[in-house]
Structure formats: C-alpha cells, structure tokens
C-alpha cells in the first residue's frame, strides 16, 4: 500500500540521449560540477549527452527579476528547444533549478493554452527563422543521478560513513524552490516529500537529518540578492535555515540548485564576519556540496578537479571523515602547474 502511494510521487526520467543546458550560476561558481556530471554520465553510466556550443542562458534570472518579459523568455526557451531538435535529441536536461522551473512553466502554459505555443512558434520564426519541438522529457540532472544512484553505488570507492566511528554521516539536504514548488508533479516526491537528494544520501550510506526549516527558501530572492541594498533579505532567510539546522550538528549540506549551494556556503562566511558566529561546534562552518561534487567524490574523483577549493567553507574535514585521499599541495595548483598563493584567511571562520 505504501509503495502504491509512493508511486504517485515519482516522475518519469528519461533513460538516455540527453540534451544538456548549462547554468549561468552553476558554471560561474561550480564549473567543476558541470564537468563532473557530464563525465559521470558518459564514463560511469555510458550515456549519451549533448553539450551544444550554441546554447545560452534561458534568461530565468532576468525573468524572475522582471527585466525580461514573459514572451521573451518563452521564445528564448523555444530557441533552446530548437537547438535540441537540430541536434537530434528529445530529452532536455537543464543544469539550473531556475531553468528547470522556467522550462516546466513554458511547457505547462503551452499545454493549457495551445494558442500561446503558436505565438512562440511565430515569434521564433520571425526572430530566428527556426522551428522547435517540445521535449519528450525534461529532467533535472539531479533527477538523473537519483535515477541511477544504485547503478553508481557499486562503482563508488567511498560511502557516506564516518570512518572514525563507523556511523552514517549526517546530511541536511536543500532542494531549490523552483525544483518542485512551482510544478510539484515535476519533482521526485513532489513538493511535500522531495526525495531527489535524500534518495542519494540514503543509497550511499548516509543519514538524512530532518529539521524544522528544511523547506524554507535559501534566500536568493533574485532582485533581493542581485541589488546590494536588498541583500539583508537574502542573508536573513539563509540565517533562519542555519539556526534551524544547527542543533542537529550535520556533517554537511547537500543541494541540487547552484544558487542555493553558493548562498549556503558564502553566507556562512558573511555571518561569521558580521557576528563571529559559525554553525558547527568547532568554528569551521558546515561544508556545502553540490550533488555532482558528492557523486564525484564518492566515485573517487580528485576534490581539486571537482572544484572544492572554490568553496569558502573548507571541505577537508568532511573528506577526512569519509576517508577520501587528497593531496593538500594540489589544492591551489592551476592548469599551468604553478601553485598559486592561498586566498586570504577570514577573520572568524576557520580554514
């Protein structure tokens, strides 16, 4: 009976032949995560995924900041679908959670209002002399890793187990709001029981920590962060989450939205500078991982090629708990082979 009900909370995720769309925020702050996702799909899972050189932003950040009209975003989405068609693919995989929401919104509106889809066709033809088809399937990359989490597990060198005490590592997961709050049917577990990240954590040996503000927004708020004068909104909402999770002493935070990952990392630094406050017991902060970074780490990829050195909250203590081998001298080495000088140290947050 329980399984029958849970089946209603599942979504269809395509098996193979994906068209990948990069994320403005993920490639800015976590370029190693996008590279890891493509590599894992191609190498560990043997999947076919297209990374078109002609792709561009979906305009989602501009749309939700109200500097790009609905009709413009709709037609930009149509152009991206046109690139997918031109490349011979039918399964669309947007890296960004905001994009995932934008694509889901446009397709839903076209289904509700077919005349709107015809308007998108007309706009796209007038602007670009292009035609498009709707994808057969839209899945977030975290959906795909979730779908294949048990196939990946035997290939993993590490598990989410604390090697010092043998207990499961305790993780809090944060799902980007636009993954399942706008279109609940598009998310694994819908809006009420989002399981896309919890499924990975549990499958790979960890323990998911529930906490009161688990579903509260990370605080991005688009214009509430993008304009400096508004950032109090952003940090206040993130702080609310930290205060809520602090008593449970999580080992790390896992996210599927690139913006959330960045804010949950960087606001810990900012709060520490403002209030001499960290949310772990030893002053290092709570490490934040993207799901691509977590998957890559457990598969044995080098932390410094995944880009963990770009995080403000340092991850070495977590790597030590998992038992992941790493070379500290490689951390700041670039492609040139030169070891670059270290970043400045924060005044409070330990590094």
């Amino acid at each position: 009976m329980a399984n029958r009900y849970w089946n209603e909370y599942q979504k269809e995720i395509a098996d193979d032949h994906y068209f990948y769309e990069r994320s403005c925020i993920r490639q800015t702050f976590f370029p190693g995560s996008e590279a890891a996702f493509l590599s894992i799909l191609r190498n560990e899972l043997g999947k076919d995924i297209c990374d078109s050189p002609h792709q561009h932003t979906c305009t989602g950040i501009g749309y939700h900041s109200d500097v790009v009209p609905f009709e413009t975003t709709m037609t930009v989405v149509a152009r991206l679908f046109s690139l997918m068609k031109e490349s011979g693919y039918k399964n669309y995989v947007p890296s960004c959670v905001t994009s995932f929401g934008v694509f889901s919104e446009m397709v839903a509106k076209w289904h509700e209002n077919p005349a709107l889809k015809e308007q998108a066709r007309a706009y796209l033809w007038e602007a670009c002399k292009r035609e498009f088809e709707e994808p057969e399937n839209i899945a977030h990359p975290s959906d795909i890793i979730y779908k294949f989490r048990f196939e990946l597990k035997p290939k993993m060198r590490y598990q989410l187990v604390n090697r010092f005490n043998g207990k499961p590592l305790r993780a809090v997961e944060h799902i980007g709001c636009h993954y399942a709050k706008i279109f609940p049917d598009k998310g694994v577990g819908k809006a009420e029981f989002p399981y896309v990240l919890a499924g990975m954590i549990e499958a790979w040996g960890g323990e998911v920590v529930d906490y009161p503000e688990r579903r509260h927004c990370c605080g991005f708020g688009f214009r509430q962060y993008l304009v400096r004068e508004n950032r109090g909104y952003s940090i206040a909402n993130t702080k609310k989450k930290f205060e809520s999770m602090e008593p449970y002493e999580p080992d790390f935070i896992l996210t599927n939205c690139p913006g959330c990952a960045m804010f949950l990392d960087k606001w810990q630094y900012t709060i520490s500078e403002m209030q001499n406050k960290t949310y772990d017991t030893e002053g290092y902060g709570i490490p934040v991982l993207t799901y691509e970074e977590l998957t890559g780490l457990l598969l044995g990829r080098d932390p410094w090629q995944l880009g963990l050195q770009l995080h403000q909250v340092q991850c070495e203590r977590l790597l030590d708990k998992i038992g992941i081998a790493y070379n500290p001298t490689e951390k700041y080495k670039g492609i040139s082979g030169r070891i670059n000088p270290m970043p400045a140290k924060p005044s409070c947050l330990k590094v």
């Binding site: 078109s52 009209p69 930009v76 030169r338």
Partner: protein
Amino acid sequence: MNNIIDYLRQDVRFGEALKACMNCGVCTAVCPAAEFYDYDPRRICETVQRGDEQEIEELLKSETIWYCGQCMSCKPRCPRGNVPGELISVLRKASQEFGYFNSSEKGRQQKQLMDTIQRNILEIGYCVHPDKVDPDYHPEQGPVWRWYRQHIEDIAPKLGANYHGEGSGALRNIPQEDLDEVRRIFEVTGGMDLKENVERQ
C-alpha cells in the same frame, strides 16, 4: 476606462495567478518576504481582486510589489490554486509599463537590474558570469572568490571549464551568431521595449 485592470487581464499569466482568492492567508504564512519585510501577499491578492483602479495604481507605485523573492513557496500552498508570486510578476510588468516603478525606491532598482542582468544576457549570453561578479561589489563572496577571480585563467581549465574559449564547455564565449539571434528575440518579443521604457522613465 480601466486601463490598468485591462492591461493586467491581457497578461497571459494573470488568469492562472489569480483565480479566486478567499483570503485565508496561507501564502503570507509561508512567505520568506513576509518574514523580512512589511509584506503581505494576501493583501495584494485582495487589492487586485477588488478591482479598484485607483487602489491598484497606488499598489503599482508602492514599494510593496518589489518585496517578493519569487521563490514561489506560495504556489503549492494556496488551496484555491492561485499563485501570488506570479501575480507579482504581472504587477511588476505593469508598473514598468505605466512608469509607476519610478515612484518607489525599490522600483527604481529596475534600472540597475536592467543595466546588469539584461545587459549581460544581450552582451555575453549569460545572466551571470564570473567576470561580472566583482568582489568589491560582492564582499559577501569572501576571499576565496577574490582568489578565484585573480587566478581564474589558471584554475577554471583545471575544473574542466572552457573559460573564454571557443566550442562547448562552461564559461565559453557564445558565438556571435547565437547572440544575434537572442538579441533579435528581445527585439521581436518586447524585451528591448521594456528596457527602453525603463531607461526612459
């Protein structure tokens, strides 16, 4: 003549955003903006639903409509299927169209957003890019971000990025012919008109 109300109804999102609000206030209870600002999406739905042209004009001139963070936490909670966050998008579009955004401090920030986010889209094809995240404007990004910006040409390729390269990959330059098509979409669909309207006010 109900100029504003007619304009709102012409927006394809309006009918879905506000069907019939019963003022239960669940949207306000769950709203991150309502915790931080003096902001109440329930009252916004009520004001628009009442349909008083003068009241709606005052709303479009106010700070209030700019407080929403567009997280859309309101959507799955509304028992009537309204989407207050989407209604806000419709109101913000109208506020910019009628020039009312200029009456509020938060509304005037649209000029800055137009000059950063929309400009980025048109010039480089991304909303956000490391070159555009200046550590001096973003001190909250911390010393690691400043370090990454200083050494990005050495570090980004190690992470698999194609920083300012040709072809595919993260942070590559988008070909000019693709940028031209994106710009043409903005011209055809009203994106440039919105920009010019905001800049002109």
